[in-house]
Symmetry: C2
DNA sequence: AGAAATAATATGTATAGACATAATATCGCC
DNA sequence: GGCGATATTATGTCTATACATATTATTTCT
């Protein structure tokens, strides 16, 4: 029909940014002007530019207009797959083994890393250690604390066959959380579990999820040496 | 006025997903139905649900309707800051030191990791090794290959005071790339540069950016022990 | 001059209506 | 029953218009 889609407009805007027809730091024409120039409605231009702004390629402010940032802060998006799906996606057969299971008071190290109010004083948490396998090889060691108050049913759930993460995804509703990536040298216990030399460099994900203010679960995933996590820019 | 914004609709949809009023696997009401129920236009519902689908919390297909996925693949977005800004954001004073600079043929290891056509046969690349400092402490070792064909001017650029990354961001236009995170044990040379024990576990980012098919730059960033990268879910 | 009130303006968003598109369901035919 | 053509349907998108909102520019007042 009109053949001018928001994708068309977006591509054209991208082209002008990349060719420096719109140089870094400069202000670009108003939506209304672009709409007239490109022959489409302002809403179409709006959608195109809004998405570019969300991606960090433009900066928009009411009344001040739209500018090409001098130092674009590019945003990358990555998917946080369930480990089983991650393994399957690599063409391997996923396995899961629960190593230890206990109910313990929250350790000081965990309490220190949480904002106040995440846990009631003296809270008892479910502590899990489990190993994810890819084929016959260890893939990832999971060390997890679960708050039974926000994950009711976890204490009686059968976690021998299903990963706690999958149980939580299906049975709780989190409203937020954060995630951090890092690296650490394998300690003796971890090395034994992952069947790698002590001191080997492991990719580590620390993840915390909340329901409102309250902690649902905190987990550290230590991946076997060589693991890489991919993302697109 | 109407007071029903797309954010309102989105929040309500999120609530229904979280409370399992819309259980995993189920199909949710059509846009038109929701619009009537909530008292807004279909376009408003569309924007709310579209964003949830982009975040992985809903699955939408024409004619088939909208469903709550059984296994939501949550997507997390993180910002890829310029290292200098990363250091400043941690409240430290950034520093930069160019260690070595040479023009060499592309090494086999790099060629192997690139798709065919990324580089002409026998291409000469600029090889850089540089150290980023936070205060007086080493922060990150940068090992980079730059393709002068897609980064014209790089061979005569003054890279002693400015990071090659910043030069590239300001002087080239990339159309895509990919990024991978991993961990590795510090080799002797890297350990010396980062002032850490050999074998220490380092967080590593491998990043490649392209202009169309052609390589612009490939870089490995090895962060000093203890570095963590944060993201929000 | 400096501060406070006011006007102007670009983006942000809502709406109703229309058509496009992809996927599914149904019908007719062999 | 199986297959292919056709109808149906939910989402995807564009348009024109209107009003909201944040921010900047201007004017007015002291």
């Amino acid at each position: 029909m009109s053949s001018i889609t928001w994708q068309t407009v977006q591509a054209e805007a991208l082209r002008r940014i990349r060719t420096r027809e719109w140089p870094p730091g400069s202000r670009i024409p108003d939506e209304a002007v672009l709409a007239a120039e490109l022959g489409c409605a302002r809403a179409t231009v709006n959608r195109a530019l809004r998405e570019l702004a969300e991606a960090g390629l433009l900066e928009r402010r009411r009344k001040a207009g739209t500018r090409v940032p001098l130092n674009p802060v590019r945003k990358a998006t990555f998917e946080v797959p369930i480990i089983r799906q991650d393994i399957e996606g690599r063409g391997l057969v996923p396995g899961y083994r629960l190593l230890t299971r206990a109910v313990e008071p929250a350790p000081a190290a965990l309490l220190a890393s949480l904002p106040a109010g995440s846990l009631p004083p003296g809270a008892q948490l479910l502590r899990l250690r489990a190993l994810h396998l890819a084929g016959d090889a260890p893939f990832c060691l999971e060390e997890r604390w679960v708050n039974p108050l926000t994950a009711p049913g976890i204490l009686v759930a059968d976690l021998d066959g299903i990963s706690a993460n999958e149980w939580l995804v299906q049975n709780t509703s989190f409203t937020g959380g954060d995630i951090a990536f890092g690296a650490t040298n394998a300690d003796a216990e971890t090395a034994a579990a992952l069947d790698c030399p002590p001191g080997a460099s492991l990719f580590v994900i620390d993840r915390m999820t909340r329901a409102g203010e309250a902690l649902i679960t905190s987990v550290r995933l230590s991946y076997a040496p060589g693991y890489q996590m991919q993302a697109v820019i």
